[in-house]
Amino acid sequence: MTSRILIAALVLTAAIPALLMGGVSGVVAADGKPGPALSGPVVSSGPHPITLDRPAEATNREIVDDVKRVRNYADQPPLIPHAVRDYQIDLNVNKCLTCHDRRNVEGSQAPMVSVTHFQDRDGQTLGTVSPRRYFCTQCHVPQTDAKPIVGNRFRDFDAVLSTAPAKEGAK
């Protein structure tokens, strides 16, 4: 009997710090400390008590207007300007290639995959799309109207050139 009381007492003492802390700070689902203020929306997975139900943010709309977007540099994989919902890419079928493959562009009027897609890693141009280019969405992605969570200061080639200090002799 006495030993049981003793054990209970010990357990309680051990739990004191946890109880106190819990009362003060709560348990936090932390993905790290709240960093310096970011430009952009608050990340919903950020630090908040796990007991708190945060409403999910609205999902963003897909951009499927069929308007090609500017490429930031020459060898950027162009963004997909159209819907790709449920497009199957696997051993059985590659839905993208039903429009973008060499043989199919006349009917689909889609831009043909460029010659780089036919090249293997040794630069050999193959007869069909190279296996390493088979999974299109590895490189090409559709866009939504989501605002970037993290800002970035990327400037393209022309922007960099226009602000570069004028060189000696350049007229």
Partner: protein, 208 residues
């Protein structure tokens, strides 16, 4: 007054004919009994038909629940902004009665011969998938995608509301009657089988 008596007499006369015994049963019993049996049979038949025309029935066998149904759940025909769900019979069973019966008989063959006999695992389903899919493509091709058109129709399509990519296709091939929905929209409800040798609908070399 005279008219009511006349009617009553006529009815009584008829009844006498009806009530005259045949060898074992009265003619009335035979006729009425036959009528009742007919109603029961016909009603029961159509009820059974209706019951077997629900999604619940289609997916009551596990082959259909584990394979097509699981896949359908991912697609736009299961949940969409319009809140209209296409269930198995919407796409697979014709609405016209005669077509429906014909399809049922075809389906029972598939059900008994194929499903219970041979397709009892995912692997066997995938092996048979191309063949099963071809049956559906042939059927939809032959009836000009009738089941799709029960919900979608070229007439009520507002192409100004569609994406340019879709508009171009529909204008060139659909409205001209050159192609039908299933030529271009294969695999809108399920994963596709091995598609080798099948040309997309917009290709000139695709079978007309």
């Amino acid at each position: 007054m005279a008219i009511t008596t006349a009617i009553r007499n006529a009815v009584a006369a008829c009844w006498r004919v009806f009530a005259r015994p045949s060898v074992h049963y009265s003619l009335g019993f035979l006729t009425l009994g036959g009528f009742v049996a007919g109603v029961l049979f016909w009603g029961g038949f159509n009820t059974a038909l209706e019951a077997s025309n629900t999604e619940a029935f289609c997916i009551s066998c596990h082959e259909m629940r584990d394979n097509p149904y699981e896949e359908l759940k991912q697609t736009i025909h299961f949940t969409n902004r319009s809140g209209v769900r296409a269930s198995c019979p919407d796409c697979h069973v014709p609405h016209q009665w005669t077509d429906k019966i014909a399809r049922k008989m075809q389906a029972s063959k598939e059900v008994w011969g194929k499903i219970f006999g041979t397709i009892d695992t995912r692997e066997k389903f995938l092996d048979k998938r191309r063949e099963l899919a071809e049956h559906e493509w042939d059927r939809l091709k032959a009836n000009n995608s009738l089941e799709c058109r029960n919900c979608h129709s070229a007439e009520s399509m507002d192409i100004t509301k569609q994406n340019p990519r879709a508009v171009k296709m529909h204008e060139t091939f659909l409205f001209t009657g050159e192609k039908t929905c299933i030529d271009c929209h294969k695999g809108i409800a399920h994963r596709l089988p091995d598609m080798h040798g099948i040309e997309p609908g917009w290709n000139a070399s695709a079978v007309k």
